[in-house]
Symmetry: C2
Subunit: 336 residues, 2 copies
């Protein structure tokens, strides 16, 4: 293979991602240097944080340089190797490029075991980064106790679906918030959430009052904006808020933040803690084992929303910000 | 003693506490019932939270009922007892009334040991509630590590002076913020803070940039408003903010909160946790032992600002909100 297709960041988006911010082109695959290997990418993970990487706002790792290949989570098979211990046919996953072939020295990547009975899309789309995000955010920061009330926004998304199911495993009352009846029905009927609020057709605050008159112990926050405000106002004494994301803000041009609720945080002794999954990288073994165990026991189901064709990545990623995805959003770059 | 003097809450203040919100009068001491005892109050503690109790805003314990005796921290000696185990002459401290004599069944109070070499004002004004507030807020929530940078607002106040000294004991670089040269000189020269910013004559943000170009690991927050914002903007990755108070907001009529900094909290993985000292009541033995040990070793010095005369309590309490006190504010109700 001498040619590859790759998406490059042509310019930083202003507001929503627009045509031309990312450009798709064929180019020569770089020759392998000693210590490198080439992956044929199978799945590309599209995640809310992609929009942050495209910007030069304050963020948790360097932004993608304009002109560089767009960064993304990938999994793929080794097709050529000049690195000791890496063999053709091995399956790798980690931070890579929006490309069908990529060359790497393995930094930020790890070998992905093949798991009998678990399709690659589910393994990558659950055990990759969204599973550990849900696991550490809910368990370490949220500290759920049996009988407590947990609210999960973006409930049918990659992280939300896992958070809610771990919440049920821990004995919590779990209320999801999602856009549309299909997503709400899914998290309640298929995943076992206690209830789900459809923010597109229901009044989130009024529904929270009805479904959780006792208040909210844990708000697993991924969304920000008015939905966050509605949940925050209903937090109980000693409530916890793992702050995982603020997807409603990422395309925001004026950058104005929601109010601080400082007085309420004091009076109700709330705790808020921002986190990024890579903060917990040293403990990914622990999360992987727990998540896989729950999957094999049938306690953790996950849904992937798989879009075929790398050429569609730039239009697919936009759906994250409008709620167009239903499950973990993946691009199938080449057949598994 | 058949008569006592007492401050009652006549009406809830709007904005600053005004004449007539609290009224001072002599009245008959209630006759003791079985299980009660009478205290002659020696010191009344005046604390920022008093203003919260006068209001009916959301708060962490029931507000003082209009017409009732004003609530306050007190210490005093038993002058009459119909309670087993409580003898005339015993020293008690806890939540009581703005009064020179009070009748109680001991709820919310505990015996205060007499400590050789430590004046009662220092023992009550340090080991009472401000010491445990500083101890648990800084150690449990702030989690200081040697070499980290700690910022303490209201640095010469009751809690701030202790927070900074515990920070030094833990090996932190400690930067105080206080109003006026005398307070700044005191915390640096007498208490060993590394530096102090005079918010009345200096630009807090610019001074933070100069004194802590590395950024702030821990912000022990008691003040709110623009000073909080200046510190928050300079928080480091994984910074912690024990949220102890927001004194600049307590007289605020419009109730608007400062911005939320949600995006920054996420990107820098900050944690913010509100707390009230009584949340840690089960561990007051631990804090008392540690604080007293540091006092006796000379590592913890505290200053009290003692105002004579219960009749002056209502004017003295207002000084907390204008920065008029210098050290822990106490009223000497009767001689110790």
């Amino acid at each position: 293979m001498t040619e590859r297709n790759v998406w490059r960041l042509a310019k930083r988006p202003v507001g929503d991602i627009a045509d031309g911010d990312l450009v798709y082109a064929a180019e020569a695959v770089p020759a392998l240097e000693e210590g490198q290997f080439a992956l044929r990418v199978i799945y590309l993970s599209l995640d809310p944080t992609n929009r942050i990487w495209m910007s030069d706002q304050e963020q948790y790792m360097p932004p993608v340089v304009v002109g560089a290949a767009m960064r993304g989570g990938v999994c793929g098979r080794v097709i050529e190797s000049r690195r000791d211990g890496v063999a053709v046919g091995d399956l790798y996953a980690g931070l890579g490029e929006w490309a069908d072939v990529m060359v790497t020295d393995g930094t930020g990547m790890g070998q992905l075991p093949e798991i009998p009975g678990v399709p690659l899309a589910a393994a990558f789309g659950t055990l990759g980064l969204v599973g550990p995000t849900a696991y550490f955010g809910l368990l370490d920061i949220g500290q759920p106790k049996a009988g407590e009330t947990l609210v999960v926004g973006a409930a049918a998304g990659g992280v939300g679906q896992i958070v809610g199911q771990i919440g049920k495993i821990m004995g919590c009352k779990v209320i999801g918030i999602a856009g549309g009846k299909a997503k709400c029905d899914y998290v309640v009927n298929e995943l076992g959430f206690d209830a789900c609020i459809d923010y597109k057709s229901q009044d989130v605050g009024a529904e929270l009052d009805r479904l959780a008159p006792e208040g909210v112990d844990i708000n697993f926050e991924q969304v920000g904006g008015d939905i966050m405000v509605q949940v925050l106002k209903r937090m109980k004494l000693f409530g916890r808020m793992p702050l995982c994301g603020l997807i409603s803000q990422y395309n925001d041009v004026d950058g104005a933040d929601e109010p601080g609720f400082w007085t309420m945080m004091l009076m109700r002794r709330l705790s808020v803690r921002g986190f990024i999954v890579t903060d917990f990288a040293a403990r990914f073994g622990e999360s992987g084992q727990a998540l896989l165990g729950w999957m094999l026991e049938g306690k953790l189901k996950t849904r992937q929303d798989i879009r075929p064709g790398l050429a569609n990545a730039a239009s697919a990623v936009k759906e994250l910000y409008s709620g167009g995805n239903f499950g973990k959003l993946l691009v199938e770059v080449t057949p598994p």
